[in-house]
Symmetry: none
Subunit: 374 residues, 2 copies
DNA sequence: AGTTTTTATGAATCTTCAC
DNA sequence: GGTGAAGATTCATAAAAAC
């Protein structure tokens, strides 16, 4: 195990470069395509394989509109067995073409990432981190049946327990306001001008944000490194690699995606720093839910809270709701209802007693923030 | 497949209760211990299995002080094979003792969670969410060799793709200030007064925060449910279960942990009934037929109702059906047909005038419910 | 032209009960 | 088990439309 942090050209780059299809998207099945590459020839593999979503019927939003689901043929697998075989096949080829000090990245969701993670461990890869991409704007759970699925997972692995790998620790720390970069990354989904569209409809159903690739490549590759993406899609990996001065190779069997990717990457200019803006933006001011205070014991369920004039006394319940007799609601909603007001700031409306003092519940929030701030 | 949200006592609770070792920590290996429990007898399994950390050698902070790593004998496994066999064994028993509408929770890190996730899928469990516990105060990466490992992962799974399960959606939404609870949970690690210590050193190396269990149990169990924890440790699950009015059973083979857990849980006080009440979904509200409102004079036959933009105006008929010209139907069916939508909630679609105000007909239902409850 | 309101949409394993 | 009806259910963003 070890970390290399260097800007020097890596050995064996020049001799491989002449035979590698740099800046090209290989046609056809990715396992077949990768077979054309020599052993130990790439520095990094970034893979965004099909997630095997196993969706049922149609889904409609509360307003009745339809959700545009990922029903493409390339995401259809008959069983976990079939998906596992597919996964083992492409991971085996990826492992063959990686240099001994190369690294693998895979992104996935709970549908597939546990299969992928177990198989890559079985093949000898050594997980260095699992990274959580926390989406600022995920799709909600429209039916209220589960927690909002608000993240995806990336696995970062070296070639083995004792293998060397590259990690640009300083760059990551700088990018994160001089704090160590953590394993949870907060980034928006790909939308707006960045999202490739053709006649108003998205070209690819699962295009990844460039800021995600930017951080991956900046963290774990050097300038001039060769990055291989076996599921190239519309070429986010290639576009960001070019921007950052890395070489790239893609595999993609759909003509439409290949064409879109070539056109997109041709427009890309090396060393454009625009994506940095998104990444360096400070974390949003921490919001605290009243429920968090209850969970963490700052206000115990059963505590009585009241407005300043003690016109109403409410009881704190286990889920952070309040109750006055049969009327219940959130700190804001119940305050609003009781007063018949259009709105109410529950943080300043409700008070509680601490050691004989009466304080707004906002005081508990301040204590909580002090105790938990990074 | 489905979601149940109810405060009612679950069927089959009473008969099982008499034979189950509620409030007890079973001694010995958890697989052996679980064999003593009958099939389909518990509502929830929460498991915090050994992490298979495979730390090579000792770890030191930059100042030379040693990190108290998890190197206890119970955490050593020769290989993934041994760990997988162990995992399959306890998950199989957990599956046997769970009710058909029960649920499984497992917490882990990247060292073990991919093994666990793949195996539980192989056994037929159906993943509902993977939850990221984002730590506000993780241990830094002292050597600067990787990203700060700032999270752990929890898997929440039902007994199968079509199995029912329980999710207190409304309580979670309330706990999160009226926004859907997401799959990423921000909580501090267990420290301070909550951390069990004996002579200045921590009793258990991986004690989980009570806030984590609080959210798990509040979200996916009901009052009176039986929660089994096969790796009980110092009893965080039992302490929170008791506080929340849930029954608990533990398995733990280390005497020291069992003793600490019993002492800890004895000090725990259950919350009283009223504090345990949580916000309820409308799914639980007693059903009211629109016709009942008409019968009882809340909306008289002949009243005009209309959608918000007054694109359609319908007349209420004596049997609770609506008519727009020759088109007739129920409040839902007619709203659906007029819009050409896949479905329509007539309660919120149709409005009526009361004292000059425009209100959804759902307001009349609320009045009716208030007047008739109890 | 500038501001406010409305609409569209994103890797989604997304209902339940009676007949 | 299949079908149909009742009825519960959404957050952040960006672009378009309205004012």
């Amino acid at each position: 195990m070890g970390v290399l942090e260097t800007t020097k050209t890596r050995a064996a780059r020049v001799e491989n470069a002449v035979e590698l299809p740099l800046g090209r998207i290989l046609d056809g099945d990715c396992v077949e395509a990768m077979r054309k590459l020599p052993d130990g020839s790439v520095d990094c593999v970034f893979a965004d394989p099909p997630y095997n979503l196993q969706l049922g019927g149609d889904l409609n939003r509360p307003d009745g509109s339809a959700v545009d689901a990922v029903t493409d043929h390339w995401d259809q697998f008959d069983s976990f067995k079939v998906y596992d075989d597919f996964t083992r096949a492409w991971l085996t080829e990826a492992r063959r073409v990686l240099k001994p000090d190369g690294a693998l990245w895979v992104i996935g969701s709970y549908h597939n990432i546990y299969r992928v993670g177990a198989i890559l461990q079985d093949l000898g890869f050594w997980i260095l981190n699992d990274i959580v991409w926390r989406k600022t704007n995920p799709m909600p759970n429209f039916k209220g049946t589960r927690f909002t699925n608000a993240h995806e997972t990336l696995l970062w692995a070296s070639m083995g327990e004792k293998a060397k790998y590259h990690f640009n620790y300083r760059a990551m720390k700088t990018l994160n306001d001089e704090l160590q970069m953590r394993s949870d990354w907060v980034l928006p989904i790909c939308s707006g001008g960045e999202r490739l569209k053709e006649g108003g409809t998205k070209v690819h159903p699962t295009q990844k944000p460039e800021a995600l690739l930017y951080r991956v490549l900046l963290a774990t590759t050097e300038k001039g490194d060769v990055v291989l993406d076996p599921f190239f899609g519309t070429g986010t990996t290639g576009a960001v690699a070019k921007r950052l001065g890395r070489e790239w190779i893609g595999c993609e069997r759909e003509n439409v995606y290949r064409d879109a990717a070539y056109a997109r990457i041709a427009k890309e200019l090396p060393l454009d720093e625009s994506a940095l803006e998104t990444m360096q933006s400070k974390k949003n001011a921490p919001k605290v839910a009243f429920g968090a205070l209850v969970e963490n014991g700052y206000l115990k369920p059963g505590t009585e809270v009241f407005d300043k004039k003690r016109r109403w006394v409410a009881t704190v319940r286990a889920d952070g709701s309040l109750a006055v007799g049969k009327q219940t609601g959130s700190i804001h909603g119940l305050g609003k209802d009781l007063q018949g007001a259009p709105s109410c700031n529950g943080w300043t409306f409700w008070h509680y007693e601490v050691d004989g003092d009466v304080k707004p519940i906002d005081a508990a929030r301040q204590l909580y923030l002090l105790a938990t701030e990074d």
